[in-house]
């Protein structure tokens, strides 16, 4: 072994091969474990004294004893002195409101929003007569509509929840009551009840499996709804309950006391004990049937309810979703605040104006005498509030509700997109949150998981090395390597899986001849050492594997003639070529991500005891016997495999003597029943036996890339989106996948951890030497880390990441500090310890800067926590919008951390999807999600917001100009009803449709020109600049709308002599001009005119005139003379051509400059989008031709480059099989001997 394989903690430099530390360790856990380690493992934990239970065992459940759970000691305080049992009932309640609480609760929730609250305050202000410049309905009606729309949506959602709750709570289940099973509804199940479940039933609560109709109380469950895995899982009843609790009578007398952990959300952990007839039995997750799963292949099973309803793990898991907001949201809020400040300033200014006006004119105008003895300042003060009310429409009331409607619509469009629908798995894309769509158009960094995201996670056995000789290259009989080998014909093997392809004929011949002992041992190992479950179906064997790697290996063995046939509780039956043999399984040594290996100890039919082990090369090589052969040759082969981006596993064996095994077995049993740290104790035991191994060879499995991954990455790169791959895989593997998916190219210079560290150290040293130049480092642009021209790439491992970012050292230092109980020695500036937090921060900034200079960044061997940390580093220091995409539980952290999390659905598990914001089935859909939906959403939202602010400014500021001519008396320039309806009816629909439907260029062109994505990243379409432009545009339009009619009205009269210069005609002219202007303005902004848009624009204008003529009609005045006071104003005003000419002029002056400026801008500084738009027809033709030409070239799966990694991340069935027992009883154990077999003492101990 040439490579140094020391543990990372001991070495000075981080080891690239190992994960820095275990996945789930938080700081605290790390501290505890490292301090706790020196203590000797507690021996004799079999029967710990009752009072020595860990304190976490605070959950007590007594079987068949409902009153027990209502004892006072289990009460908790709910409210004041009302106490309730802390055991939840099984009825679930996901709904938020009931009939009584809907209105108050929903209103309360809605008024938590600042905008709604603002309008409520306005409404209250409007009640005060002195300042009520607008009647109450101008605010109330829009507010009611806004609240109503949101309320109805909430109501619909909640009704759906009600319906679902009801349906679930009314599901039937058999509960043991009064000594017999009675059908009961789920909602009536209580903790401590014994329930009976049938085949294909949903499990109603978290239940301790007592017994089942299957042998050994085995129970098959489908956990798809829990973790998305479709393969069946196996749960086991305890031996004692299996034996004694089969009959109804027995179950009715069951009176055990279960003590276990409190309800929590960890789906992968359960610890408890059962006190039954004076004995204590340990319980773990394998005994538990979790709510949400489904019983399969098991006729009847009995269980004891441990957690019900809200206490169940699935319910504890749901709910808490981190609230993400988009940049635009934040910006929008700030803008609303800006407008609010502006509103206060304007109102204050006008109030001062009123004060002066009152001094100068108002107080002298006898006709204005109002009998109130108020001085001018007080009047000014009142006027301030009056203007706050009059100008309140500056803050757009319908903004938030419109934004939500638009986002909802856009999410629907994502859900509906056929081109993001994956036919094979029947998985449409799903926008799980509806608040983030426009952020999709601003992504700068993508953090991608590799396994299952870039790759298919479909494994194929491709190559192997056995006793130093490599197989797998296609060869002829003469041993010549052929370019295109003919696949091996498996017809000689009746069990062969036809879909399995292998091209090396020599290996098959080698095995069939039986001459090569090593080759036979190799496949024997593959067929024995695994945790695969087998099902016999009509069409042959079906393997259920926890990880695809294992499935691939067992399938390979099957095809090579070593067919895994069946597994019983402690035997494995395989068919070795023609001969069927059964091996007794003595122990199954669990696989987990720390151990990275699994072993099985078998007793051969001839009595030999042998340990088979397979695992990652890194861990296996450390444990090889010095006598082991083929080490060097296998290592070479491994390197070749890794470079060919194959996933490798080393296989080895070890012969054990009976004594050796007995001694170990005893210790092993003790460890199995350890109450605390059972896992750690077991790990130590495993470690002990897995040593001095003999190497047989290694396997290489191909991990296929998903379709279209390289193309997608290339496209996204063109859109200036940086893609970082964060993976737990090996450096070499990750590097290779980088090449195969065109993330890395040959002309890139690749920098590794050492290199990076060196550069960072240099920079840090310089900073220390010349602190002055770096003091204001944030301001001056940092000099490049890679001054040489050319592309750079960064490949860094988790260990180096910690080293560079001081993470680990800090932790270790803190540990040491705690242990010694004193301060650490002052750090020496020469070493790279951080002197303080700011230095650490500078280091992080440097690292992020450096990484961002690179075209590609690959972080390998990173833990989920580090994945999250890397994302937050970029988020924090680059202020960039980030997206994480992943498929597995290990990506949950980064998915939650990133601004947008995307889950790959229909793969390993559901955790990633459950915590994601968007979910779809294939990585390549990311392209469409970002470049099409994201871009559109962003453009639409920006257009919408710009226009929305504009239209409200244009609308409201007319009052401002008018106040100069109305004595600053907060007289409004329009009719009250117009103000009420403006945002609701007259101007909202067209812009809403633009927000929903607008496309500047269609999806095909969006994809063809990734450069179109750039404005989103720069936030160029909506920022403070655009906001102020919109404001100025609004101000300009309001000026025109006021002053053109002003000029026209100044000294005129109507065509029949009546003076039209009355207030009502003026209000109609300004309002009509405004309606025409804003509707034509949105027409100018609309770049995608569907009939709906047309309809909306014309409709808005029509509605305006319709409503206006209605409320100005004689009839309505007669009914409400003092509410509708504009009687006849519309008809009288609008029959005057003069006023129409005024309106036309006003609209013309409002629009022409805008058209002119837009045209000039597009001519002089055309954006990419403008150019594409201009030549749309041409490009569309090109695309059409390209499609015709390329159609056959776009076939799927033609890429055969791939990646490599040793073991899949997830824990396999090994756990279940090793800790419990096997799947099927021995044939002998069936029938009448059942009871007696059970009492064999040797196996009884194992059970506990």
């Amino acid at each position: 072994m040439s490579r140094q394989r020391a543990d990372s903690d001991g070495s000075l430099e981080p080891d690239d091969e190992v994960m820095p530390y275990s996945d789930d360790e938080t700081d605290d856990e790390l501290d505890v474990s490292s301090e706790g380690e020196p203590e000797p493992p507690v021996a004799g934990a079999l029967h710990p004294p009752a009072d020595a239970r860990p304190s976490e065992m605070a959950w007590k459940v007594k079987a068949n004893d409902r009153p027990y759970h209502h004892l006072p000691e289990f009460k908790k305080k709910v409210f004041l002195c009302i106490k309730k049992s802390r055991y939840s009932g099984n009825a679930i309640k996901t709904y938020k409101y009931n009939v009584l609480t809907f209105l108050p609760l929903n209103l309360y929730e809605q008024f938590k929003r600042v905008a709604n609250l603002y309008f409520l305050v306005l409404l209250i202000l409007q009640i005060i007569p002195d300042i009520a410049t607008l009647p109450w309905y101008t605010t109330l009606i829009p507010l009611v509509v806004v609240l109503g729309v949101t309320g109805i949506k909430d109501l619909v959602d909640d009704l759906a929840r009600h319906r679902m709750d009801k349906e679930i709570n009314s599901r039937k289940c058999e509960v043991l009551l009064d000594g017999r099973f009675q059908e009961s509804k789920w909602r009536n199940i209580q903790v401590g009840d014994v329930v009976r479940m049938k085949k294909n039933d949903f499990i109603p609560a978290d239940i301790l499996l007592l017994s089942s109709s299957n042998p050994n109380s085995l129970c098959y469950v489908e956990t798809a709804e829990l973790d998305g895995e479709t393969n069946l899982k196996f749960k086991l009843g305890l031996r004692v309950t299996d034996e004694r609790l089969q009959e109804e009578r027995q179950l009715a007398e069951f009176n055990a006391l279960i003590e276990c952990e409190e309800p929590n959300n960890r789906l992968d952990k359960f610890v408890g004990t059962m006190l039954y007839e004076g004995k204590r039995y340990p319980l773990d997750l394998d005994n538990m049937l979790l709510r949400g799963c489904k019983i399969r292949n098991t006729e009847v099973s009995h269980g004891l309810v441990i957690f019900a309803g809200a206490d169940t793990k699935i319910m504890k898991n749901g709910g808490k979703t981190r609230f993400k907001r988009t940049k635009i949201d934040e910006l929008m809020n700030y803008m609303v605040y800006s407008i609010f400040v502006l509103l206060i300033l304007v109102a204050a200014g006008l109030a001062i104006g009123h004060t002066y006006w009152y001094e100068a004119i108002g107080s002298k105008a006898w006709y204005l005498f109002d009998g109130k003895n108020q001085n001018s300042s007080y009047r000014g003060f009142l006027m301030f509030w009056g203007y706050i009310i009059a100008l309140n429409t500056m803050v757009p009331i319908s903004l938030y509700v419109s934004v939500e409607v638009i986002r909802l619509g856009q999410s629907k469009f994502i859900n509906w997109d056929l081109q993001m629908y994956f036919l094979e798995k029947d998985t449409p894309a799903k926008a799980r949150t509806t608040t983030l769509n426009e952020q999709l158009g601003q992504i700068e960094y993508i953090f991608s998981d590799k396994t299952g995201t870039l790759t298919q996670n479909v494994m194929q056995f491709k190559k192997c090395t056995i006793a130093g000789r490599s197989y797998g290259e296609p060869t002829t009989a003469a041993g010549l390597v052929l370019e295109r080998g003919r696949p091996v014909d498996w017809s000689w093997n009746q069990y062969a899986d036809r879909s399995f392809q292998f091209v090396d004929h020599s290996l098959v011949e080698c095995i069939r001849s039986g001459k090569d002992k090593d080759a036979n041992e190799f496949f024997k190992l593959l067929s024995l050492c695994h945790t695969v479950m087998v099902e016999h179906k009509d069409d042959g064997l079906v393997y259920q594997a926890a990880s695809p790697d294992e499935g691939a290996l067992v399938t390979a063995a099957r095809n090579f003639g070593y067919v895994f046939l069946s597994r019983t509780q402690d035997t494995i039956t395989i068919k070795e070529m023609e001969e069927e043999r059964t091996y007794e399984m003595l122990a199954l040594l669990d696989f987990n991500s720390d151990r990275k290996r699994m072993s099985i100890i078998l007793k051969f039919p001839d009595g030999r005891i042998r340990l088979y082990c397979k695992g990652a090369d890194t861990v296996i090589y450390e444990r090889l016997s010095p006598k082991s052969k083929h080490k060097e040759t296998t290592q070479t082969a491994l390197d070749i495999f890794a470079n060919a981006t194959l996933r490798t596993l080393c296989l080895c064996y070890k012969d054990l003597s009976a004594d050796e095994y007995e001694a170990w077995s005893k210790l092993h049993q003790e460890a199995q029943v350890a109450m605390s740290d059972r896992d750690a104790a077991l790990d130590r035991m495993y470690e002990q036996i897995e040593s001095n191994l003999m190497l047989i060879g290694a396997t290489a499995i191909e991990d296929k890339l998903q379709d279209g991954v390289p193309e997608t990455i290339a496209k996204l790169a063109k859109a200036d989106i940086k893609i970082w791959v964060l993976t737990g895989d090996k450096k070499e593997t990750a590097e290779n996948i980088g090449y195969s998916c065109s993330l890395l190219t040959d002309n890139m210079q690749i920098h590794y951890g050492e290199d990076v560290n060196e550069k960072l150290k240099v920079r840090q040293a310089r900073r220390r030497l010349e602190p002055a130049t770096f003091r204001q480092g944030t301001k001056k642009p940092a000099e490049a880390f890679f001054p040489e021209p050319g592309k750079n790439a960064l490949i860094i491992t988790g260990g180096w990441l910690n080293e560079i970012l001081y993470e680990k050292k800090k932790k270790r230092r803190r540990l040491r500090l705690r242990r010694l109980g004193k301060r650490p020695p002052p750090s020496n500036p020469q070493d790279c310890q951080p002197m303080d937090d700011s230095e650490k921060e500078m280091r992080q900034i440097d690292f992020v800067d450096m990484a961002c200079e690179c075209e590609a960044v690959i972080c390998c061997r990173v833990t989920p926590k580090q994945k999250g940390n890397v994302v937050s580093l970029v988020k924090k220091y680059k202020k960039a919008v980030t997206l994480s995409i992943g498929d597995g539980a290990n990506d949950v952290n980064m998915i939650k951390t990133a601004d947008i999390g995307v889950g790959i659905s229909g793969q390993e598990g559901m955790q990633a999807v459950m915590s994601s914001d968007y979910a779809f089935a294939q990585f390549r859909y990311l392209e469409r999600l970002l470049l099409v939906h994201g871009r559109w959403s962003y453009i639409r939202m920006c257009k919408f917001l710009r226009y929305f602010f504009f239209k409200n400014f244009a609308f409201t500021l007319v009052h401002f100009w008018y106040s100069f001519f109305s004595g600053f008396s907060s007289q409004v320039a329009y009719e009250d009803w117009f103000i009420t309806l403006y945002n609701l009816c007259y101007s909202s629909l067209p812009v809403l449709l633009v927000g929903l439907l607008d496309q500047d260029v269609n999806d095909k062109l969006s994809l063809k020109f990734p450069k179109l994505y750039l404005p989103g990243q720069q936030g160029a379409l909506f920022n403070y600049r655009n906001f102020f432009i919109s404001l100025f545009h609004g101000i300009f339009v309001s000026l025109v709308i006021f002053f053109i009619p002003y000029g026209a009205f100044l000294q005129t009269m109507g065509q029949d002599g009546e003076a039209p210069s009355d207030y009502q005609s003026f209000a109609i002219v300004t309002a009509s001009s405004l309606i025409f202007t804003v509707n034509l303005q949105i027409s100018l902004e609309t770049s995608y005119w569907t009939f709906v848009n047309c309809f909306a624009v014309l409709g808005s204008i029509a509605i305006y005139f319709g409503i206006m003529f209605d409320i100005h009609s004689a009839g309505i005045h007669v009914i409400f003379p003092s509410v509708f006071t504009f009687t006849g104003a519309a008809s009288n005003a609008l029959r005057q051509p003069y006023l129409w000419l005024t309106i036309i002029l006003t609209v013309g002056i409002s629009l022409l400059p805008v058209i002119c400026i837009q045209f000039l801008h597009k001519s002089i500084w055309p954006s990419v989008g403008d150019k594409v738009q201009r030549n749309r027809k041409k490009y569309e033709m090109e695309l059409l031709q390209e499609e015709k030409k390329k159609a056959p070239a776009f076939e799927r799966g033609r890429r055969s480059r791939r990646s490599a990694y040793a073991f899949s991340h997830s824990r396999g069935y090994a756990d279940l099989i090793s800790s419990g027992r096997s799947i099927r009883r021995r044939p002998a154990a069936r029938g009448v001997f059942q009871e007696s077999i059970r009492e064999v003492p040797q196996t009884a101990a194992e059970n506990i």
Partner: protein
Amino acid sequence: MMASSYNAKDEDGHITVSGPGGGTLRSKKPENTAFKQQRLPAWQPILTAGTVLPAFFIIGLLFIPIGIGLFVTSNNIKEFEVDYTGVDMSSPCFNCSQNFSWNSTRPCTCTIPFYLDQPYESNVYVYYGLSNFYQNHRRYVKSRDDSQLNGDVNSLMSPSKECEPYAFHENKPIAPCGAIANSMFNDTLELFYNDPNGTRIPIPLNTTGIAWWTDKHVKFGNPGGNPNLTAAFQGTTKPVNWRRPVYELDADPGNNGFINEDFIVWMRTAALPTFRKLYRIINKKSSMVPTLPRGNYTLEVVYNYPVRSFEGRKRVILSTISWMGGKNPFLGIAYITVGSVCFFLGVVLLIVHHKCGNRNNSADISN
């Protein structure tokens, strides 16, 4: 709110994920409709030189003639305006404006001579104009009771609060209530033609037809069906500043009470602090004789309405009318200006387009 509840369905995983053999399952494939796939047929207009430049030229070509037409029409309208506020010592109304009292019983009259240098051919409209009079002040505008004015008997006796402090006087409801009514313009204007032979011929002024039909017949109405207005207004009192109660505004029962047209005109508040209101109409008698021939005229004003206190001005305007109303050159000038600017901009855009447009148009997008 909306967003958080959107995932309700996923919470307990109640959607049946039918795996292989999980029974019949409905495909989740989205529908392939033009709307759902965002492929609605659409027109995608963009601002190109081909559309913008002609638009500017056409607008220019349209606006300039309209402007000229408006301007010429406006110039052809004859208008005569005389300010009779009496600010100057030399003004005939100076005396009247100086000693003013609401309670004076003896009306102050002043006579203003003027000369029309051209004959007014068509109907002539007589306006009074006020300046610096904030009829658009919010409190003032509000200070009326439309129900009362509509003839509602309840409101007649108990006017709306908005009318305060002009709702009640001496415990009697004021009819019409409110500040607007209270400050009704009450100067009387009479016009005489000074015949060259020295006689003063009174010119007949029409008092009706000056208000909107809807105002007179819908919005305003006398209370009750009682033709006897005095009885109808029984129990109310006149506005504080008025000299006569509302039912004595005119002898003609069709022009009395709330439907008195002078009153209606006044109640239609002006948009701006400088405004005109139609006072009388001089109808054309025959096609042969101009309505107001060239010559000397006398305006007799019964000076009741005080404006000096707030530096207001009072004017009398005589004007003829065209299809576009009275004399107002603003719109004509504005149209001509905008039209010219459009034309000019069109030229500028054409140049810019030639210089930049071609260069950018051909430039392809680097991918």
